[in-house]
Amino acid sequence: MRQRSNVKRAAFSKLAPIIFVGPAILFVVVFLYAPIIFSVALSFSSWNFISPEINFVGFENYRRVFHDPNFQDAAYNTLLYCVVLIPVQIIVPLLLASLILRVKNRNLAGFYKATLFLPTILAYSTAGIAWLWLFDPINGFLNSVLTAFGLPQSRWQTDPNLAIWCVAFVTFWKNFGLNMLLLLAALVSIPKEIHEAAALDNAGPWRRLLTIDLPLISPTFFFVAVTTTINVMDDIVGVIDVLTSGGPYGQSSNILYYMYERGLSFFQFGQASAASVIIIILVLFVTWAQFRMFENRVHYES
């Protein structure tokens, strides 16, 4: 009797990993991997959801996407968002974190930390809405300030030249607090003795940040770099949608938003899928490049 229950139990123990890991695998495969595989298939076909026939069209969708001026703009904007926002969203929070470290009064330091972190807990759409109201060209706060100082009013996110910077700024505003917090947590964890030794060597605070702190917090720095990249490519879409809908004239769109518009506003599934395949390849490349770049430089304590 006892032996039988043991046999049963052993069989059950063998099944346990499947029960524990199975749902996770099932969900990522069905909802994350399968759609990507379908995207690849759809990107080589012409199908518009309504017609029953699906034709193989080779690289036609890719050709159309690459020749689409909207895609070219979106690709350029994506690059611009990355080149501007990734460094700014890492460097400014790093400087702010090192400033907070210098505040000796603990309550005050806590206050700064919490306040600067506040925008992070908002949704991208809510952050967009809050700024939409400040930017409002007719009754918004910012234009009232400009008027009060006798300056000409601005059209903010409805100005084709400014739209992209408005989106970039709001994305930064919503995000810098998280990076600040992560970098601060890493900086705090550096042992005091190291700083004391550096002080004996007469290293100033900024030099210390560059030559001592930065190498020591490199794992966090790497994590921040990867998440910021994802965030600048991906989460920004919420801000774009609320603030400008990619406009005016596609001036603030990015490639994910382009894909979203093609697919679900214009129902050009083939082209949208081609765009998504391009994005996947890009993301894989960027992630690989980041891993390569940091592989040699990241210093893990062992």
Binding site: V21, F31, A123, N139, F141
Partner: protein, 278 residues
Amino acid sequence: MKVRTALGASAATHIVLSLVAILSVFPLFWMVTTAFTPNDLALTKAFRFWPEDPTFENFRIAFTDFHAANWIWNSILIAVLVSVGKLAIAVPAGFAFSHMQFRGRDALFWVIVATMTFPTIIGIVPLYIGISLIGWYDTQTAVIVPSIAYIGFYVFFMRQIFRSLPNAMFEAARLDNAGPFKQLFEIAIPNVLPAIASLSIISFLGAWNIYLWALLVLDTPEKRTLAIGLKSFVVIDDFEPMWGPMMAVALLSILPVMILFIFAQRYVMAAFTGGIGK
């Protein structure tokens, strides 16, 4: 001399930090004052740092002309179910990946964790088609079920956390004839409750804010959530948007998150920093 430079540096530090603090808070402050200002007054008078004639009129409009009550309920429902779903899946998986031996363990782990780098809306087109084909369009299920799949970070996080528990703990349990479920529920989980609480917070905040996907699959106004209900006020193209009611709804949408932040500030911040600096 030394003292003066030290003082100077610190004054500059405070000025910079105060300015950034104002920048962080001001849009929210502005949201609150607008929410309590009568809509026509909000449009005519830009400088009012405190609502004169404070009113609940905007909230009344949000609840009667729009569907704020439904949106609140839907947001709560979706956030809770997505969080519960994610944790129910990620916690056992994290445990299996840290304290169990089975074939293909590392490969399966990377299959899950690699999804962390996927842009969230990358599969949106096939997913939309699939959801429409199985008749989930315009249902909350369509928002909840696919959103649970973004568990890459959660599984990674839980594995790290469970790894901090010594293996000997579970070996002893095995000698005591404790099966995998007993090990998970009676030993592993009770020992990492703070970490699970942190993960729940992240999960809730994330699900509370689901935007683009919800916007796509929820069509009926009553079925929307707060995050996308906000958009109902923007699309009134020819007129100025209804800023007052819009800010009222925006305020409602950040209220639970704010309350969570104020009362569990350390917890929330710890949740975001994960294991860094411990």
